[in-house]
């Protein structure tokens, strides 16, 4: 590179640094001070009994609330999502192959159904595992314990069945509308085949969305790390939550960097 160009570029970057550095330093200092005071305040509020009281309250409340939430969720899945799926399948079957606005609406509904099932699956596993842990650690009667386990298991099975019905129904119909699409939802390599059959515009959307979601994960992990650290001090939640978030954060960043390196080759 030309020396003159290097000197000029160096000067320009130095000038920019001078402009942005003080703001950056102030933000860092403010964040540090805020963290220090919040940490000290959290220590001050540390009451030996608080974690015990909170745990007892949460256990007593959530052990009944979670199964009810689970049942409501399954009812929504069965009473809303499945009828919507049937309606959209009927609409897709009568498409004349010409009306583009019509089929775009149908495809949007299919996409919304897939998003719903993804959300319900995450919520379902979350509720199921939390409920099981609460049942194990609580002092409720044997009857209540058995009832909660029974309801949770039934709901888990229902969720898996309904989710599979909806997802396979949606994928089957998307494949009918788009003959170029490949992949069977029950096959292990479904995602790979599906992605391979997506064209450049669809892949562009996927990659853009993935990058955005990676950025969101970074921000969320940073805040969760702070929150779990503070709750660790106040409520004695231990190092496990901080450790889990560190793992998720690391995995997200490592997979991103690995993929960037692979694509840049």
């Amino acid at each position: 590179m030309d020396k003159k160009y290097i000197d000029e570029k160096d000067k320009q970057i130095h000038k920019e640094n001078k402009k942005y550095m003080p703001i950056f330093m102030i933000i860092l200092l403010a964040a540090g001070l805020l963290g220090f005071f919040v940490g000290r305040a959290a220590r001050k509020f540390e009451i030996s009994d608080l974690s015990g009281q909170l745990e007892s309250f949460l256990t007593k409340t959530l052990i009944y609330v979670l199964p009810v939430m689970y049942v409501i969720m399954i009812l929504i899945l069965a009473a809303v999502c499945i009828p919507v799926l049937i309606k959209q399948i009927k609409k897709a079957r009568v498409w004349d192959g010409e009306d583009e606005e019509y089929i775009e609406k149908v495809e949007k509904s299919f996409s919304n159904l897939l998003n719903c099932t993804a959300f319900f699956t995450i919520a379902s596993f979350g509720i199921f595992f939390m409920s099981m842990l609460l049942v194990e650690s609580s002092t409720v009667s044997e009857t209540v314990r058995k009832l909660v386990i029974f309801v949770d298991l039934i709901c888990l099975v229902c969720d898996l069945v309904f989710t599979t019905i909806i997802q396979s129904g949606v994928i089957k119909n998307i494949r009918m509308l788009n003959p170029e699409k490949r992949g069977n939802i029950f096959a292990l390599n479904f995602r790979k085949k599906w992605e391979g059959s997506c064209d450049e515009a669809e892949q562009y959307v996927m990659y853009k969305a993935s990058y955005k979601s990676c950025k969101v994960v970074n921000t969320v992990c940073m805040w969760l790390m702070i929150i779990t650290f503070l709750t660790g001090i106040v409520f004695k939640t231990g190092i496990m939550p901080v450790f889990c978030i560190a793992i998720i954060w690391t995995c997200s960043n490592l997979s991103f960097v690995r993929e960037v390196n692979r694509l840049e080759k």
Binding site: E100, P179, D199, E202
Partner: protein
Amino acid sequence: MPLVNRLKEYRAVLDVNQQQMGALVGTSRQTISQIERGDYSPSVTLALKIAKVCGVTVEDIFEYVEET
């Protein structure tokens, strides 16, 4: 979007719907729809394929307009 196109007009000349056009150029109906709406700028390869199917040059279908 600085890229304007006349894909819809050329598709009408060929008398094919978006699905058929997609199949002809090896892409999906949604992508053809997005290109026509101006929501997506196709790659050079896809633009060339579209032009070839329509029997015209890329410039006949796609036009770059300077943003003011």
